[in-house]
Subunit: 322 residues, 4 copies
């Protein structure tokens, strides 16, 4: 009946389940690590599955960590370790000298969209050191050349992120791009508690700022792994979901039954008109986010950057001098 | 039937009008400056009026400037000039040597709540210069001693803003406090286009972060003028308003008539239960804001600070050396 | 005898004059705009001149504005206008539809090195709007497509600025690069009062962070105009200059005469050894900057960005909606 | 002969030793924790000692950690632990429910002066939680009420830090103030490698911004412990030290001997005149700092805040929800 906006494959899959949509070509596996931590994998295997899900073929791994948004002395290193493992599952080949460009997408000046830039702030950047001092610079051969860029958003640069990244990729020839971005979820309960890691890159319409062009293997010519955390819900989604709840409430509450009955008599086009009337056009350019989003983004950026550091720079840190 | 959240007296007044509530003790005057600029004054004159409006007695002046949120080479100096005039109307006595403490309320780390701190960043601060070099420091006797503070929010300081400001007021003895804060509106159309100036200070429950204690003449012992711009709408308000729209749509659309009829049969407590079921508890700690709020807050902070500068430091700027 | 560090061609020229070095191949013109504003042009016309000056052939225009570092209501728009005129003198051809990429060099996190990034923050960026809405988007045909990038420094990105800019230039094909950077002067009196504009780009060893690779027409394939303001003096320069002053003082003061005589008996290698002993090696990685550099950089970034805005986006700003 | 500027009692003590000044009333103890970590304590016991040292009576503990300025995965937690122990030595009485106000002095906008504000950003603030939920809020009785404030500098606020802090202390009645500030050292080798902790508070003339009024038990009425890290050297100090080195070099180098002899013939007033001639007046408002000071201040602020967190909020962090 209506499209809701979510960047999380897991939420799309759940909704499809709920609505008894046939999910042929989509596999789902769930692994419970402990009481707070679940890792689920949605694999979209066929073009048909991709069409049903509204997302490209590939692997979508979701780390759900109930306590990720709580303060923690070492920024939930246990979650960082899981993220590092997930990243290593998705890296196309296991060579440890693969060079990696980490891209911090989003707008540093808008708190819930600043996740990508802030993750980059906390990375161990090694490419220039390896280039100058060679592979023994860190007393370990297991340090990948890591570079990073914060491209900014189009209102700031006048350029698409894709243009900037494509230019840099052709010039510096990394073998892998990791794109970090803040996402939009459907459900406020998922905010700041979920990390989605995919091998499909960033796709048009996703992210807080709704990217217009994809950042993926097709557009960049090299594999792109994306890491995203939902920090906002689209304002329009809140209202659409509320209507959904209204219909549900009507069908269940005795008191509202007669009202529900009337509602059910509406056909789809009538329901669509109802929604259109309800939605202010302004809402499409707005988002919903928690009031303490600053603390969440600060903490989460450490958790994610540490995961990337563990995966690509497993170095005895004492020997590292910035 | 239900309380909606707005910090704007103008919105409360409009809603009362709409619902034909008797507004005895409340005066309303509107002045159209030009096609883009309207100044309206709501004066709550009696305790009864205060009770009806849900806001303390006093004067609420609203500058509505349709183009305030558009880019402009001199940051809409024409609006700053109007703000300066409005400020001078509310200053209790006209002495030019009155010392002023400007308080930038809100959380600098959360973009739509950063208005207050960013206004303070752009102020001409003069108190320390006047104290050291005397009244001829600026080649004008019309420069007020201006000091400022950004107290931060409770999660950062562990203290109420009121505690911090009260301590500083007792120590430095300003004669007037100007408190600048980001507000919550009811209607997304008002965001970033409205400045509310009042002589009632900041009151409990207002602002993006919902202050718990008031900053007003009663709590501080000196007059408090507040300047606010709505930059968010409460997430709960969006949903409540949507329901309101739904009921309206039902009563007007032929198609939805039978549904509307059922709805009308609900009594007030049934309607309340309906809303309660619709509202996720999470929504109370969330806000709705535009995606380009960073650019708006940056621009608006210049417009407001320039208004304060004009009102209290009308100096030949060339002679001013920071 | 010893090399001092300055990014200002004007200071090199002055020193050469002072030491009676033959400056064949170098032309110098000075124009006094008013009592506070002087524009001087050093043109290095031959390879020989370039060798003597230690700087590449080209035009170096210096705007000296004695009051540029004082507070001003419109951020010294009169200086911005002069900067716009100087920029237009150096633009290779006068086509108004020439597309321009502005590069904000330097480290946003180090106050005196943040000039470039902060200039970019205040630019009117038009490329994406012109691309989407065409040449009438601004009600003027005199708006150039302007894009911008803040590449960050190598410790943050692992990449040379040149690699990033080269990639972006090849991808987005601007016709002109304007590189903005904070510079090192020799003399503390020039700090924050001087704008150098050249058509030679940025060259190795220049800037606060000492660029390792040039950003110029040779390396980028398109003309590069650089805009620089000195915000620091190298710590080593301070000490070297002091020694210079010491020798001068000795030769002039009667009291110090006998000391000066001894000094003159030293030959060049002895003098060099003396300096080497005096200089702590740490000093080479340090800079000297004023304590209120934050206010200067904030103000200067507005003055420079306004100059670029005037030169490339002479638009009726009211019609511009970001 | 000449006063050099240092905020470190250790450096003053060393210079006195070097110059064979009698240090009666000053005790010095040094403890080597490991090859990278030395803790030394200078205790000024008498008014005479205070006069000789140019610093008030009290205890000055210096943690010298050679690798403190290198990157480290957990921000040198071993140094944070030592800092916590030192803090506990200086706390006047050992009650665990003592309420603490942490003051982040300095200018957030000037990188080497931002240490204090950035330490406060990373503190666990508990006062408001304890006030609302009582002493069992953290599952431990060993959590002190901690509040914090970043007062800003006089150019931003128009007020002395002392006025702001005094007002807040009288209003919120903490029992202990911890003042964190960036310091000026004499020797560039000490920068970012030394933490000084004292029970004498902050005194006039100290800090990067040269405080005009002290923050100490006398001015605030409660004990003040200060934590400082040198991040700058005064520009004038660099030059003065260079002259000192020059004289040393002269007396030792055979080659420079005759020159040195002439120098020794100068009497004190002649030497003073020599220095005055060498020093540009500008230098007094300037500082010297390393080019990568941004990375140092970022890292050090974590090391210091963690030390304060360990000392005053020894909580099982998992249970802490911001």
């Amino acid at each position: 009946m209506y499209q809701i906006r979510t960047d999380l494959a897991l939420e799309t899959q759940e909704k499809m389940q709920e609505e008894h949509v046939d999910l042929k070509g989509v596999r789902y596996v769930e692994e419970k690590i402990d009481k707070n931590l679940t890792i689920s994998t949605v694999t979209i295997e066929t073009e048909n599955g991709a069409k049903t899900m509204g997302k490209p073929r590939g692997t979508y791994i979701t780390i759900e960590a109930l306590d990720m948004d709580t303060a923690d002395e070492d920024y939930h290193r246990e979650i960082s370790v899981q993220l590092a493992k997930v990243l290593q599952r998705l890296v196309p080949e296991k060579r440890k000298d693969m060079s990696v460009l980490v891209v911090g997408l989003g707008n540093r000046e808008v708190t819930p969209d600043a996740l990508g830039p802030r993750v980059v702030d906390n990375l161990f950047i090694t490419r220039h050191i390896l280039k100058e001092y060679g592979k023994y610079a860190f007393g370990s051969e297991n340090v990948n050349p890591v570079s990073s860029i914060v491209p900014g958003v189009m209102a700031q640069t006048g350029m698409e992120s894709l243009e900037i990244i494509h230019g840099i990729v052709k010039e510096t020839k990394p073998e892998l791009v990791i794109a970090v971005d803040a996402l939009a979820a459907r459900n406020t309960r998922r905010l700041n508690r979920t990390i989605q890691v995919t091998d499909t890159g960033i796709n048009p319409g996703s992210g807080v700022g709704n990217h217009r062009h994809g950042l993926n293997e097709k557009s960049l010519g090299i594999p792109v792994i994306s890491i995203g955390i939902p920090t906002v819900v689209d304002a329009a989604t809140i209202v659409k979901d509320m209507l959904h709840n209204l219909l549900d409430a009507m069908s269940q509450s005795e008191m509202l039954k007669s009202l529900g009955n009337s509602m059910e008599e509406l056909d789809d086009s009538e329901k669509y008109e109802l929604i259109r009337e309800l939605l202010s056009p302004n809402l499409n350019t707005m988002f919903v986010t928690p009031k303490d989003i600053d603390e969440s983004v600060k903490r989460l950026s450490f958790t994610v950057s540490e995961g990337i550091n563990i995966a690509f720079a497993d170095i005895p840190f004492e020997q590292y001098t910035a």
